[in-house]
């Protein structure tokens, strides 16, 4: 299973990538939204895990592009440090499957990823 991880916080991105790889996923990590989107366009991924605020383009724009331009139904999980209710509503509105506010628990994230991918542990 291939996952795109777009997150500009270096240590968080690397640690989540380490965690997911230890659980058997193949993770392609990006610190720039534009690079992540290019990778999504050119490869077949099973899930997108993206932060909202990133250099290049935002996680919201990535989600919107996936749904509207690529017409893809690939599961998208949005991570953000914003605790604002409207951000969560907007995320679901543009087609995100899950929304997680930071701080996150990697174990909970894994459960949500497995659920979206239909994997049973």
């Amino acid at each position: 299973m291939r996952i795109v991880l777009a997150e500009d916080n270096d240590i968080l991105r690397k640690s989540l990538s380490f965690f997911l790889e230890s659980k058997g996923y193949k993770v392609d990590q990006f610190s720039d939204g534009k690079e992540a989107l290019e990778a999504i366009e050119n490869n077949n991924y099973d899930l997108v895990l993206t932060d909202i605020n990133m250099p290049g383009i935002s996680g919201m724009e990535i989600t919107q592009y996936i749904r509207q331009q690529l017409k893809s139904d690939i599961p998208v999980i949005i991570l953000t440090s914003s605790g604002v209710e409207q951000t969560e509503l907007d995320s679901f509105d543009i087609g995100a499957n899950e929304f997680m506010a930071k701080p996150v628990s990697p174990a909970v994230l894994l459960v949500r990823i497995n659920k979206l991918l239909g994997i049973r542990i």
């Binding site: 640690s15 701080p103 628990s105 990697p106 174990a107």
Partner: protein, 273 residues
């Protein structure tokens, strides 16, 4: 001195003055150039060390967070053993732990807190509280509050009485994060006015840290400092503490000035509507 006066009085001072000025200018430029080179060299060295240590720290923290290894096993790591007393390495490790702690919760955050204590990084942060530089003290306070070091509460509380505005706000925020309402009840005895900016920061800290137990906020309404009373009213209004209505009613009846009376009535109106 006499020689200088002779040069001045006989009118031949221009030439030596110009030579001395040029020499001074050249020397100052050279010293500044050396300082610039030194500073640049320091930055380059730090950047190199950051990327070198970054790899070791990432590996170390991933082991701490995702592998259930006790600290006694972690210190067997050769790279860590070699660098654990290095000041720059410790500082960078603290920075990385704080960064990760802000993004992880639950068991993962607890593991980071435990490592922060076991590795002695907590003591480094406590040392910062004794610094004479306010920015270093702010850094120490932020680190201790982020890592939930409750034993530092009393020292941080002392910092919250500082005259430096940034230090004061940082300390009050930290006190609120660590002990909730207990972190601001000492303000009832605060001798100076609390400005609007500090009040906004205190209210934001209460909202951010989701302080559930609001026991003691009503004590602010009994302060002789009118700005503290105003802060108490704002907290009651912003956090919608309807259980504090009797105290606000009492204040509205016995307010020391018309401003507080009006504020109390306005809060009452909002809470009872």
């Amino acid at each position: 001195m006499k020689h200088l006066w002779e040069l001045y009085s006989n009118g031949t001072w221009n030439e030596p003055f110009l030579i001395a000025s040029i020499c001074l200018f050249v020397a100052a430029s050279f010293i500044l150039y050396l300082l610039l080179i030194g500073s640049r060299h320091g930055h380059i060295k730090n950047e190199r060390l950051r990327s070198e240590y970054g790899v070791i720290i990432d590996k170390l923290l991933f082991t701490v967070v995702f592998e259930d290894l006790p600290y006694s096993d972690i210190i067997q790591n050769e790279s860590y053993k070699k660098l654990k007393e290095n000041r720059f390495f410790r500082e960078f490790t603290t920075e990385s732990i704080i960064n990760l702690h802000k993004n992880y919760n639950g068991l993962y955050a607890r593991k980071l807190e435990q490592f922060y204590k076991d590795s002695g990084l907590k003591e480094d942060s406590l040392k910062k509280l004794r610094s004479l530089k306010w920015d270093v003290r702010c850094k120490g306070i932020t680190e201790l509050a982020e890592m939930n070091v409750h034993e530092a509460f009393d020292t941080i509380l002392t910092c919250s009485k500082a005259r430096n505005k940034t230090l004061q706000i940082t300390a009050i925020n930290a006190c609120i994060k660590l002990e909730g309402t207990k972190g601001i009840t000492h303000l009832t005895e605060h001798p100076y006015p609390i400005d609007d900016w500090t009040q906004v920061n205190i209210i934001a800290a209460f909202k951010k840290h989701n302080v559930g137990d609001t026991q003691g906020i009503e004590e602010l309404l009994e302060s002789k400092n009118t700005t503290v009373v105003a802060l108490g009213l704002k907290l009651i209004k912003e956090l919608k503490l309807t259980q504090k209505v009797p105290y606000v009613v009492q204040l509205a009846a016995q307010a020391p000035n018309t401003f507080l009376k009006y504020e109390a009535q306005s809060v009452l109106q909002q809470l009872t509507d």
